[in-house]
């Protein structure tokens, strides 16, 4: 059983869905990031940390701005790995999110080794679709890391089956066709899409993009195994506000009531 498996199993045992807060490494500055990461760890089942990239294609304005600011602060992969290594031993497993070019710049094997040494559990690399995933998945697997596969509302069912078939760790279902960012409402088809994806999934299915409010999590809790919240937290950091009130409310919203699908 991997650290990720244990994290999702623990949430299930507590009759909850998993909460996956996302923070951008080095944002708004190194010290504050480390403090916020430690804070998020108190509420998280799995931590997600972005390594800032100059040209992130799948990110909306909030995370783009955070990445640009973090780069101006001198954030690097090496610094990120140092910072996450400061988390206490009992902290939730951590997943890194970054662009493929940042992995290539180190080399696949060297990257996997460095990430494993920093106790990273998995990678999310949004610009590596199934067709291009084999070399990266193989390099990560050698070090016991998973590459988190992604599903989108545009993914046809046959393709969904192929993506789910070899998935490890968890699956990341993008809730809306679009970039990251908070949204007032999710599109009408989202529930059918998640139900369909869940039929094919043999690992936990987590929903991300556009999830910002506890009410959304409460409504969708019967459908998905976990929820990623990013832009809403980064907006709080932007405004210099503490994260714990939102994290606490989100954590409460993950409780499963009634329908346990």
């Amino acid at each position: 059983m991997t650290a990720l498996d244990r994290a999702f199993a623990k949430a299930r045992a507590e009759n909850r869905r998993a909460l996956l807060p996302f923070l951008m490494s080095g944002y708004p500055c190194r010290e504050r990031f480390r403090a916020d990461l430690a804070e998020a760890a108190r509420f998280a089942d799995v931590l997600e940390v972005g390594v800032p990239f100059s040209d992130p294609l799948a990110d909306g304005p909030v995370i783009q701005a955070a990445a640009a600011a973090a780069l101006r602060e001198g954030t690097t992969l090496a610094r990120t790995l140092e910072d996450i290594a400061t988390l206490p031993a009992g902290a939730p497993p951590l997943v890194l999110m970054l662009s493929f070019n940042q992995v290539l710049a180190r080399g696949l094997g060297a990257f996997a080794a460095a990430a494993a040494a920093a106790r990273v559990a998995a990678l999310i690399v949004p610009d590596v679709p199934l067709e291009e995933s084999a070399p990266l998945e193989d390099a990560l697997a050698t070090r016991g890391l998973a590459l988190v596969r992604m599903l989108a509302p545009t993914t046809p069912e046959a393709r969904m089956g192929r993506i789910c078939a070899g998935a490890r760790g968890f699956l990341y279902a993008i809730s809306v066709a679009g970039v990251t960012g908070t949204r007032d409402s999710l599109p009408p088809g989202v529930e059918d899409y998640i139900r369909l994806a869940r039929r094919h999934a043999s690992v936990p299915l987590c929903l991300g993009f556009g999830i910002s409010r506890p009410e959304q999590v409460r409504t969708l809790a019967p459908l998905a195994d976990g929820f990623v919240v990013g832009s809403a937290l980064i907006r709080l950091q932007q405004e210099g506000k503490p994260l714990s009130p939102l994290l606490g409310a989100l954590r409460d919203a993950t409780a499963i009531q009634g329908d346990r699908s």
Partner: protein, 394 residues
């Protein structure tokens, strides 16, 4: 289907590194393009559009006075005479026909110098498609006439003010638009960059340049071919279109010319100063730092000011079939003035890089017969250059 058509790989380069949200679109486009390529009705409509709307074939022109001045024989493929003033229209009409065929009513595009934006706006107007063009804020300033032309042609121009405010940022925004609107929108990429099938498809829509030039040259010279073919390379679509006509003729040298900037600041010479990586969906040479962050670029020519390059150019570079050179801003500006005075042709700043290299090539090897792709006209560049004092008309 051959290997390139299925995997999108030119040797090690290419592929499709895009978010999952776009994969269904790319697979749909790949299938639709393969289908259209075999469809005689589509090909006939494309040929007719190229003839009647674009004005093809463009002439092959012997530059007699320039040849005398530079000590060789210089031929120009006159893409500056194509409708909207550059080679970009060849690809824009091809992809717009394809978009209409697959039922996409909205087109998004990026543009650097504005030539691809203008061409796409014109093609969309012609075919009744909605057109949104993303353009870096810096480029909007230095290519003002093209911004007005796009608007007149009915396109919406969205200035992109993030980061470097140039072509790279415009592509980022166009891709994000496509991610947010995958169903009814076609992304009409203007160069041989991006994920498969774009590098292959754009090359095929541009190969009309090289195919025509080869026939035109052979018809004038009893079947002979030029010693060398020269084209500027930003993303590399005019070069790839020209090279496509000659790549299977080993005796014809292929020379790509990258932008070296002003000699002090950053360059846009990806193949000369970069190393392979992934940007905008493809594995190709890339200007980047040790962390894999995309490096700042610089060039007086907005259309060459890009940190990546088409994956097939990376392949031609590594296999030594083509050679890639660097020309600085000042050399390109001189060549622009020189062609204007000797031949009465005002070339685009981008194409002027190809001319400047040709001058150097003939200085080293006098007497060569060189075919230069004059990819666009320079009217768009004048206001910006005059305002900055970079070009003197007296």
């Amino acid at each position: 289907m051959n290997a390139v058509e299925t995997t999108g790989r030119f040797g090690a380069f290419g592929g499709r590194y895009v978010p999952e949200t776009l994969m269904a679109n790319l697979l749909e486009l790949q299938a639709a393009y393969a289908d259209a390529r075999q469809d005689t009705a589509f090909q006939a409509e494309l040929r007719q559009t190229l003839a009647e709307f674009v004005g093809r074939p463009t002439p092959l022109y012997f530059a007699a006075r320039l040849s005398e001045a530079w000590g060789g024989r210089v031929y120009l493929k006159r893409e500056d005479l194509a409708h909207t003033g550059a080679h970009k229209i060849n690809n824009s009409v091809g992809q717009a026909l394809l978009a209409r065929r697959i039922g996409k009513r909205r087109v998004v595009a990026e543009t650097g110098a504005g030539q691809h934006g203008v061409a796409t706006a014109a093609a969309c107007a012609r075919m009744g498609l909605e057109c949104v063009v993303y353009m870096g804020g810096l480029d909007c300033e230095r290519q003002r006439p093209n911004v007005e032309r796009m608007k007149l042609l009915g396109a919406t121009v969205v200035p992109c003010e993030a980061g470097t405010r140039n072509l790279k940022v415009a592509i980022n925004e166009a891709i994000r638009d496509w991610i947010a609107n995958p169903a009814g929108t076609h992304y009409l990429i203007g160069s041989v960059v991006g994920p498969h099938p774009y590098p292959l498809m754009v090359r095929e829509f541009q190969r009309v340049i090289g195919d025509e030039a080869r026939e035109q040259f052979a018809a004038r010279h009893q079947g002979l071919q030029p010693d060398a073919v020269v084209a500027c390379v930003g993303g590399g679509s005019n070069a790839m279109g020209m090279f496509a006509g000659f790549v299977d003729q080993p005796r014809v040298e292929l020379h790509g010319v990258e932008a070296g900037g002003n000699g002090q600041g950053p360059t846009s010479a990806t193949l000369n100063h970069g190393r392979p990586g992934v940007l905008h969906g493809a594995y190709s040479y890339l200007l980047q730092d040790a962390e894999g962050q995309i490096a700042p670029t610089g060039s007086v020519a907005a259309g060459l000011d890009y940190p990546g390059v088409g994956p097939e150019h990376s392949y031609l570079n590594d296999s030594n079939r083509a050679r890639y050179h660097v020309v600085q801003d000042g050399e390109a500006l001189s060549a622009m003035a020189e062609l204007s005075r000797t031949e009465g042709i005002l070339p685009a700043l981008e194409s002027s890089h190809a001319l400047a290299f040709t001058k150097k090539l003939l200085r080293e090897r006098p007497g060569l017969t060189v075919l230069v792709n004059l990819s666009g006209r320079g009217d768009k560049d004048l206001p910006g250059l005059l305002a900055k004092g970079l070009l003197k008309t007296e």
